[in-house]
C-alpha cells in the first residue's frame, strides 16, 4: 500500500483550512465574532489540538486497521453502525455544501449565465478521477500545489498593506467580548476539527505515531495564514462591512492599487481557491466512500466513487434555495453537526476503548 507522508498531510490540511476560511467563511465568522474574531480563531485552533486527542489515541491503538472495521468491537455493532452512518452523511453534506459554495462563487463572479449543472458536473468529473485514484493521489495533488498556493496566500496581504487603516488596530484589544470570542472559537474548532477525518484513514499514514506533531505544525501555519488575511480584512473594511460582503477576500484583492500590472489579481485568486477546494472536496468525499466501503464489507472503494460524487454534485444544485439560506446553514446548522462528528463520536470510541482495554489490542498488522 502506498503510504502518505507527513509533508503531504501538512500540505493537504493547510490548504483545506486556509482555503475554506479565506474563500467562504471569513465574512460569516466576522459576523459572529466582530473584532474578537482573531482572538477567537487563535483560541479555537489551539482548542482543536486538545479536542482531537481522543480520535488520535483510539486510532493509534490499532494503526494498521481502519476504525470503521474494528469500531464495533469497542462500542457494539449497532452504535458503531449509527456512528458510521452519521459520519458518512455529514461528510456528504460537507462536500455538497462546499461544492454549492464553489458553484455559487463561479456563477456570481466569473461564469455568469453558465448553467450550474455544467460547473458542478465538470468539477465532479475531476473529483471522481481523484478519488478513484485513491487517497495517496489526493495527498500528492495537495503536495504538488502547496508551495505556489501558500506563496500566493501569503503575498496577497503584503500587497494590500497600503490600504490598511492602522487606527483600527487597538479595537482588536479594546473591543474584546467573551461571547464573541467563544462564538469565534467554536466556529474555528469545527473547521480545524477536520483533522479527525484523518484518523479514519490512519493505515495509509507513514508513521501514525508522529501525526500529532504534523497536526501541530499544520495548525500553527494555518493560523498564521488565516491571521494574515483576517486582520487586513478587519482593518480595511471593519467588521460591519466585512460581514456583509459575500467574498471579503476577493474585495480585499480588488481594493489593491499596487500598479497596472498586478491590479487585477482576482483570476489568480480564483485559480487558487479552485485547486484548494478541489483537494478539500476530494478528501471529504473519499472519507465518505471509504467508510461506506468498510461498513458494507466491500474490499474495493472504487465502484462507489462515481455514485457518491454524482449524488453530491446533483444534491448541491438543490441543496439550498438561496445564498443567505446556505450562509445560515454554514454558520448555524453545520458547526454543531461537525462538532459531534469530529469530537463527540471519537470521544465515545475512546472512552469505550479505555473501559474495554485488553491485551488483544496489539499494534501489529491485521490477521
Amino acid at each position: 500500500m502506498l503510504k502518505v507522508q507527513h509533508f503531504q498531510v501538512f500540505s493537504l490540511f493547510t490548504l483545506y483550512l486556509v482555503s475554506s476560511f479565506v474563500a467562504f467563511l471569513v465574512g460569516l465568522f466576522i459576523d459572529q465574532g466582530q473584532f474578537s474574531t482573531p482572538v477567537g480563531s487563535l483560541l479555537g485552533g489551539v482548542a482543536t489540538l486538545l479536542l482531537i486527542y481522543p480520535a488520535y489515541k483510539v486510532t493509534l491503538a490499532r494503526p494498521h486497521q481502519f476504525i470503521a472495521q474494528y469500531g464495533h468491537q469497542l462500542v457494539g455493532k449497532v452504535p458503531h453502525l449509527i456512528f458510521m452512518y452519521i459520519i458518512i452523511i455529514v461528510a456528504l453534506i460537507l462536500a455538497t455544501s462546499n461544492l454549492r459554495e464553489l458553484a455559487d462563487f463561479l456563477i456570481l463572479v466569473y461564469l455568469s449565465g453558465t448553467p450550474e449543472w455544467v460547473i458542478v458536473g465538470t468539477f465532479g468529473l475531476c473529483i471522481v478521477y481523484a478519488i478513484r485514484s485513491g487517497i495517496p493521489t489526493i495527498f500528492r495533488a495537495a503536495q504538488g500545489i502547496f508551495i505556489i498556493s501558500i506563496g500566493a496566500f501569503l503575498i496577497f496581504p503584503v500587497l494590500v498593506k497600503r490600504e490598511v487603516e492602522y487606527n483600527r488596530l487597538p479595537a482588536m484589544f479594546t473591543h474584546l467580548n467573551l461571547h464573541q470570542v467563544l462564538a469565534g472559537a467554536f466556529n474555528m474548532t469545527t473547521l480545524f476539527g477536520a483533522f479527525s477525518f484523518l484518523f479514519l484513514v490512519i493505515p495509509y499514514l507513514q508513521s501514525p505515531e508522529k501525526t500529532y506533531r504534523t497536526l501541530l505544525s499544520t495548525t500553527l501555519t494555518s493560523l498564521i495564514i488565516i491571521m494574515a488575511h483576517l486582520i487586513p480584512i478587519l482593518l480595511i473594511f471593519g467588521p460591519d462591512l466585512a460581514s456583509n460582503l459575500t467574498y471579503p477576500d476577493l474585495e480585499l484583492i480588488r481594493s489593491m492599487r499596487a500598479g497596472s500590472f498586478i491590479e487585477t489579481l482576482d483570476p489568480v485568486l480564483m485559480i487558487l481557491w479552485l485547486i484548494c477546494l478541489y483537494v478539500k472536496i476530494s478528501f471529504i468525499l473519499y472519507i465518505a466512500v471509504i467508510c461506506l466501503t468498510h461498513i458494507t464489507g466491500m474490499t474495493d472503494p472504487r465502484p462507489l466513487c462515481l455514485p457518491s460524487t454524482a449524488f453530491c454534485c446533483i444534491l448541491s444544485i438543490y441543496f439550498a434555495r438561496s445564498q443567505p439560506e446556505l450562509n445560515q446553514f454554514m454558520i448555524g446548522g453545520l458547526p454543531p453537526l461537525l462538532f459531534s462528528v469530529e469530537f463527540l463520536i471519537p470521544t465515545v470510541y475512546w472512552i469505550s476503548h479505555l473501559v474495554r482495554k485488553d491485551p488483544s489490542y496489539s499494534k501489529g498488522p491485521p490477521n
Binding site: P307, F319, F329
Partner: protein, 73 residues
C-alpha cells in the same frame, strides 16, 4: 427529475458493466447498485421537496425541536 434518473441509470449501468468485466463477486455488485438506488431515491425526494424542505431547513427544524426540550426556552 428525468435527468437525475437518467444520470443514475447510466452510472449504475456503467458500474455494473465495469464490475462484471473485472469479475467482481455478485454481492459487491448488488451493494453498489443498492447504494446507487438509495442515492437516486434521496435525490428524487429532495428534488420534489426542494422549495418546501431541504437539508438546511430540516436541520433548522430539528435544532428548534431539540431546543424546545431545554428548560427555559
Amino acid at each position: 427529475m428525468i435527468m437525475i434518473g437518467l444520470t443514475f441509470a447510466l452510472i449504475m449501468l456503467l458500474e455494473w458493466y465495469i464490475m462484471r468485466k473485472q469479475r467482481k463477486e455478485p454481492r459487491s455488485i448488488r451493494i453498489v447498485l443498492i447504494i446507487s438506488l438509495c442515492f437516486l431515491i434521496l435525490l428524487e425526494v429532495q428534488y420534489v421537496f426542494q422549495y418546501r424542505y431541504n437539508i438546511p431547513l430540516a436541520l433548522k427544524l430539528c435544532s428548534d425541536y431539540f431546543r424546545g426540550w431545554i428548560p427555559g426556552n
